[in-house]
């Protein structure tokens, strides 16, 4: 089994999906000749030709709008937005057409498409290049939202997202793009959208994260287990919408304590939703308030200080310890 980075794993999934289904096509800024600014689409133009790998003009709103049109026509576009910060440019087409056209056409036109975008901080990028605003899409009816955390699940989830009959926002943690390699199976692999994964079982407290935050989360878990003797259960959300309430509720019903971690702003973020669901479905088991270790409700700071803004394992450890001590 090859050892791949997330970039390579995503590239693999794209190539496999395109080979398997000739309706799958790729579009976006610099995705063709250049192979994408992060090289996720490298080599696909050469392999599949310019009718299936479309370098587009520089206009996100129309990248999504025309991708929706191609989906209406019966193709399965995978549209790349170069950085998730620029999905704002496409907000109207995402909300009004991508997320709605199935319903607006009373299912005559299912919109089977994927919007891929690298998201999140940690790579010393300039303004507007480090946002983590998946909560916008979670709040938008009609979409699915998927966020992988490593090469292997990235490959499987991207394949699943492309195959999905509904529009999927696929956010790629760019801090993980080349951060590590993982074994990825040689034959195509897929994963069910809508399922969270217990990546470390434990009995004392549930620690929930996703995407790039899984690294500090797992680091914190190791630390908590080894240094503090706290038996942490770690959940990787993987699918933000639909959210796997069942797995979350089952875990927190056992542990009674929970900490949720994400990069994005706190207010009305994913952690708020998780807390609301646990409050609804695991209230009687809660032994302590659920803690949020998240981005703050300020703009992502300029890159010399981003490492302080981003949740790190130390902050997670502190929050978990406080949660354990709560009485």
């Amino acid at each position: 089994m090859p050892q791949l980075t997330m970039v390579e794993a995503l590239n693999l999934a794209l190539g496999e999906s395109m080979a398997a289904d000739d309706r799958v096509c790729i579009m976006g800024e610099d995705v063709g000749v250049n192979g994408g600014v992060f090289r996720v689409t490298k080599g696909l133009l050469e392999r599949f030709g310019a009718d299936r790998v479309l370098d587009t003009p520089l206009a996100e709103d129309s990248i999504i709008g025309t991708a929706v049109g191609m989906a209406v026509y019966g193709l399965k576009p995978v549209a790349e937005i170069q950085f998730s910060g620029f999905t704002m440019q496409a907000f109207d087409q995402i909300e009004q057409n991508m997320a709605r056209l199935r319903n607006r056409s009373r299912s005559r036109y299912p919109i089977s498409m994927v919007m891929r975008a690298p998201y999140g901080g940690g790579i010393r990028a300039v303004e507007h290049h480090s946002e983590s605003r998946e909560a916008y899409w979670a709040h938008t009816p009609g979409l699915k939202v998927v966020i992988p955390s490593g090469p292997r699940n990235a490959r499987a989830l991207l394949a699943a997202s492309i195959a999905d009959p509904d529009p999927v926002v696929f956010y790629e943690p760019k801090a993980v793009y080349r951060a590590f390699r993982e074994e990825v199976s040689e034959s195509p692999e897929t994963m069910e959208i809508g399922k969270a994964q217990i990546v470390r079982p434990g009995g004392d407290v549930t620690l929930i994260g996703y995407g790039a935050m899984m690294r500090p989360v797992l680091e914190a878990a190791d630390d908590l287990v080894e240094e503090h003797g706290i038996d942490v259960e770690v959940i990787d959300l993987l699918s933000i919408k639909p959210m796997d309430t069942e797995t979350l509720v089952e875990s927190v019903s056992r542990t009674g304590r929970c900490v949720v971690v994400h990069e994005g702003p706190r207010m009305c973020g994913i952690a708020a939703e998780i807390i609301a669901r646990l409050n609804e479905h695991a209230f009687e088991y809660l032994l302590a308030p659920i803690r949020r270790v998240t981005g703050f409700d300020i703009h992502f700071p300029y890159f010399q200080v981003e490492k302080h803004y981003l949740p790190d394992s130390d902050s997670i450890v502190v929050a978990v310890k406080e949660t354990m001590q709560w009485t």
Binding site: C25, D51, R52, L54, T56, P57, A59, D61, S62, I64, G65, T66, A67, V68, G69, M70, A71, V72, Y73, G74, L75, D92, Q93, Q96, N97, L101, R102, N103, R104, S105, R106, S107, R108, Y109, P110, P141, G142, K144, P165, D166, G194, P242, M243, T245, E246
Partner: protein, 386 residues
């Protein structure tokens, strides 16, 4: 001085430059070309430019005439129904019947049509039943079921938002080497939406087979064209994106057919997009929620009454002895009967289905929505609705 009063006089300010005067003209220039203005019939229905007159058999001319009359009659009926509380807010197409029928006439059924909200007559031409459009505008979701007989996008109510989608369909056609074309329309107001300009550019870059029809009807609610655009010749937008464009008298159905046929042939033939600016006038309300007396003069409306697309075409058909007053009366009667029959069918069909609101959002309802649906159905049950 800005109210913010920037310290532009502080000491380290950049040096004031010496003014430069450039009075003369450069030697080299680039010609931007010309836009053709198409008009077959004048306001009295007389042929003014036979060079572009479409050569159509009598039966087709009468079919076109009927389409326009149907458009008007249906519109008037909807307005009456709206005033009686039987219909929601809608946008009458009065005065734009030639623009509407002229743009769909040259389409093949297998072509794709992506209209805005003021295209009800054209939708009927394309295969929507009138009862279904009544359902739609009366607020019943069933009205959105697109007729199976044709490739139609749902009408768009968000100004300009359908134009990139229509362009995407054309891009699909292009990459799959299909021979269909896409026709999409939008208003003069919509021409200000950035996404429409983006779509022009995408269509041009990919040479996508799409015809953009801008129905320049003088107004966007209360905003007159002169305050909407720095250049009121909207066809002039084409050249900037490399899209051939033509301007046409939108109240002249033969002119519309000529212009749109040319545009569609161009697109189908691999020439890429085409822009048609149809100059027409919104004779009626913006929508039934609007009162145009607040912002426009009666005189202006009066002047356009004399340019009525239906009367004009009638005169032409009379001059060709295809129509007389009796025939006109009879056609109107027949169509009125069609409209009334549609209204009656609508009344039978108009049953709300509140239990369906979850059913078309996703292919399969995710677990979390199944819970919400159950909660909602409980509510309906409590209300005794279901």
């Amino acid at each position: 001085m800005s109210p913010r009063s920037a310290n532009s006089t502080a000491s380290a300010a950049p040096v004031e430059s010496r003014p430069v005067r450039v009075d003369s003209n450069a030697v080299e220039t680039i010609d931007l070309g010309r836009v053709e203005v198409i008009r077959v019939l004048d306001e009295k229905g007389r042929v003014v430019d036979a060079s572009v007159e479409p050569d159509l058999p009598d039966a087709e001319l009468l079919r076109i005439y009927r389409g326009m009359v149907r458009s008007r009659r249906f519109d008037q009926r909807m307005l009456a129904m709206q005033r009686q509380g039987e219909m929601g807010t809608f946008a009458p197409g009065l005065g734009q019947e030639a623009t509407q029928i002229g743009q769909v006439y040259p389409m093949r059924p297998s072509d794709w049509y992506s209209p805005s909200y003021r295209s009800i007559g054209a939708q009927v031409w394309r295969g929507w039943t009138m009862e279904q459009l009544l359902l739609l505008w009366a607020g019943y979701f069933e009205g959105f079921a697109i007729p199976e007989v044709a490739n139609e996008l749902p009408f768009s109510i968000v100004i300009g938002s359908h134009v990139p989608v229509a362009t995407g369909v054309a891009m699909g056609i292009k990459v799959r080497k299909d021979d269909a074309v896409v026709v999409t329309n939008f208003g003069d107001g919509a021409s200000s939406q950035g996404v429409v300009a983006e779509a022009f550019n995408f269509a041009a870059v990919y040479k996508a087979p799409i015809v953009f029809i801008v129905e320049s009807n003088g107004w966007a609610i209360s905003t007159p064209l002169e305050k909407q655009s720095g250049n009121t010749v909207l066809a002039a937008r084409g050249v900037g994106f490399g899209i051939p464009a033509v301007r046409v008298d939108g109240n002249d159905v033969l002119g519309m057919i000529a212009a749109c046929s040319r545009a569609i042939d161009h697109a189908r033939g691999g020439g890429g997009p085409y822009l048609v600016e149809a100059v027409t006038y919104r004779m009626s309300l913006h929508t039934t929620a609007d009162d145009p007396k607040v912002y426009r003069k009666d005189d202006e409306v009066k002047a356009w009454e004399g340019k009525c697309p239906i009367l004009r075409f009638e005169s032409y058909l009379k001059s060709r002895e295809l129509l007389d007053d009796d025939a006109i009366a009879q056609i109107n009667e027949e169509i009125e009967a069609e409209v009334i029959a549609a209204r009656d069918r609508f009344r039978e069909l108009a049953v709300a289905r509140p239990e369906e609101i979850f059913d078309f959002v996703y292919e399969q309802l995710p677990e979390e929505l199944r819970e919400q649906k159950a909660e909602y159905l409980e509510r309906l049950k409590r209300k005794g609705v279901q």
